[in-house]
Amino acid sequence: MDVANRKNIGWYLLFTLPLLIIFTIIVIIPFIIGIYYAFFEWDGINANPKVFVGMENFLTLFSDERFLKSTWLTVLFTVLSVISVNVVGLAFALLVTSKLKLANLARTMFFMPYLIGGLILGYIWQFVFLDVFTFVGEAVGLESIFFNWLLNENFALFALVFVFTWQMAGYVMIVYIAGIQGIPGELIEASKVDGASKWQRLMRITFPLLMPAFTISLFLTLSYGFKIYDVNLSLTGGGPANATELFAMNIYNEIFGYGNYGYGQAKAILFFVIIAAITLTQVYLTKKREVDM
């Protein structure tokens, strides 16, 4: 048995070690170095001096209005998109698992946007908002709804939520489909025999048994939403007038725009702590509600 075990460890190492090494090099080490830089005042150019400032960078964070605004925008964006992505994704999933004729085609179509990269999607939608929206607005006269959302400080964020939903809904749909298909047919049948209505079946059987899928989907959208950068960059670029500068972009601008490497790192560390805290709490809460079959 010992011999066999040792052999297994060999195989184990062969497959995990390369991954572990890569992960260490590109994630863990930069992360640790990043924490180190957060205590310095430095412009990011190697040859220039790094001045140790202790906790100052972290203290400045709480009086940095642009950063606080960006935090608020990110929270707003994430809340809105978690709701819309999951509602739309779940609706899609229920639709394509029903006995619809075009279910398979619809499934493919709904998933397609996810396969297009966020950057390209952003540029495509920039065009849609710029040309198609204004055109539709002029054609049907609903100019208060169909105008270029990207040039409005309030609507630009909704445009971002809209495009993010467009991108992610297909992905969480797949998760929900897997969940729905995992529900045993006899449960559904039994409920039918007992005379449950469609609505009752959905609320009393489907949703409770979908809890694991909810956990995964909420976790995914929550952390994706917080970390969003690509769609943000290509769709609005943070504009107009910084009205859609979300967390990740604020950090990027601080480091590369203003050249405050240390301060930007401090922001990034805070960013990490917040994301870790939120997603862990969320996983813990939803895990508790999962139903064992």
């Binding site: 040039l151 400080e153 203003y258 050249g259």
Partner: protein
């Protein structure tokens, strides 16, 4: 069982070989470095998108003539400095880079090779070299100028000589359904270049900027800026939003006759040609407070990376010398790059109309300086652009409030 063992050994062997190959791969350049072929390769990473293709061609010509391999790294334009910074930090910095101005040069001090001793540096036109502590660290690309580029069939330059006539011209075009004055959404084309005027027509622009930083004056209490705010209000009221227009569209609409005037520089000629512009084009001064001069300055400078092996620095310097002194090089600068040379040994011939206007202004001294070369680092994309975007999306923001926002932006960038 035997098979399994062989299989494991096979994998281990393969892994070992890859390791060895990687090692030997690292050693190769070192052994080569001892030979005559030493650092016969240089890399160029520069900011000007307009000359990317031409520079590649120049690099090939140079390789043919001298055997030195020149690699041109593609540029993205707006985020050039960030890309450069990343490259310098991770050790893949180019041998030749662009340095936009003195502010940037200061932050890159330790990477800038001192070119003072080179012979061809003496040929740089007076006051055009990029200097740092009295050492020459940058060779100017060329002289560039910007102003109101107008369609001679639609606009009479006499109609845009003061505020009243400028505004009534805009209103006239607006009524005709023509865009009277086109800006575009890129930071420098939206506000960066425009914001020069109130600074440049100060008696001492650089000193004015210093007192601005010290808080001794504000833009909001300076006459020229308030006037500038009024111009911006007139532009916003009479033209479509520049925020939904890109540089390409701006120039394309102009070439198509949909826009009567755009605010651009002589660099836009190449693009105008691509759009096959079929009318006469002129460049007029922006008439802020009676200004009748074009804004002329140096757009960027070639610099040699001091953080390289001496041979590579030498090779890079040689390339710049070739570009600025050899017949081929000089021809490339004038004919291919379409630069208005800032070197006394290069004669400008056959210039396009916009460059001709710039050269004439420059020769007659009828110019105002580029104030934006002295702005705090990255002020334009970081702070001025959002302020201008805010101004253009909120119709109720007045010109005066806009100028106060620029004040706040300046303070934020210079703190």
């Amino acid at each position: 069982m035997v098979f399994k063992k062989k299989f494991t050994a096979g994998i281990a062997f393969a892994a070992l070989m890859t390791g060895l190959a990687a090692c030997s791969g690292n050693e190769e350049p070192a052994t080569e470095g001892d030979g005559e072929e030493a650092s016969q390769q240089i890399t160029i990473f520069q900011t000007k998108v307009e000359i990317s293709d031409q520079l590649e061609a120049a690099a090939e010509a140079y390789t043919e003539e001298t055997g030195v391999d020149v690699e041109v790294i593609g540029t993205t334009g707006d985020d050039y400095f960030q890309q450069l910074q990343i490259r310098l930090n991770n050790g893949t910095g180019p041998s030749i880079m662009s340095v936009q101005n003195a502010t940037v040069a200061e932050s890159l001090t330790s990477y800038l090779h001192d070119l003072s001793g080179e012979e061809f540096v003496d040929d740089i036109a007076p006051d055009m070299a990029l200097t740092l502590d009295e050492k020459v660290v940058g060779i100017p690309y060329g002289v560039e100028g910007f102003g109101i580029v107008y369609n001679k069939e639609l606009v009479n330059p006499e109609d845009i000589q003061d505020y009243e006539s400028f505004v009534s011209t805009l209103e006239k075009f607006n009524a005709e359904g023509i865009n009277g004055y086109g800006l575009s959404s890129e930071a420098y084309f939206l506000i960066g270049h425009m914001s020069n005027y109130p600074f440049s027509i100060q008696e001492e622009p650089v000193e004015f900027m210093e007192s601005l930083t010290n808080g001794e004056v504000t833009m909001a209490e300076t006459e020229e800026f308030l006037r500038f705010g009024e111009y911006m209000e007139a532009i916003r009221a009479n033209t479509p939003s520049p925020l939904s227009t890109s540089y390409d569209q701006q120039v394309g609409d102009f070439a198509a006759g949909k826009t009567a005037m755009i605010h651009q520089g002589n660099w836009a000629w190449g693009l105008l040609q691509d759009f096959e512009v079929d009318f006469e084009v002129g460049m007029a001064p922006f008439p802020l407070e009676g200004n009748d001069k074009l804004a002329v300055g140096v757009g960027s400078n070639w610099a040699v990376n001091a953080d390289k092996e001496p041979e590579e620095i030498q090779a890079a310097t040689d390339f710049l010398e070739w570009l600025h002194t050899s017949e081929t090089g000089k021809r490339i600068i004038v004919e291919e790059f379409k630069f208005v040379p800032a070197m006394t040994n290069i004669e400008a011939t056959d210039l396009d109309p916009l460059s001709q206007a710039v050269l004439e202004a420059s020769n007659s001294g009828n110019t105002i300086p580029w104030a934006h070369n002295y702005y705090p680092a990255n002020l334009v994309p970081n702070d001025f652009a959002p302020a201008a975007e805010g101004f253009f999306v909120n119709e109720e923001t007045t010109g005066e409030e806009f100028i106060s926002n620029l004040d706040a932006a300046w303070q934020n960038a210079s703190k």
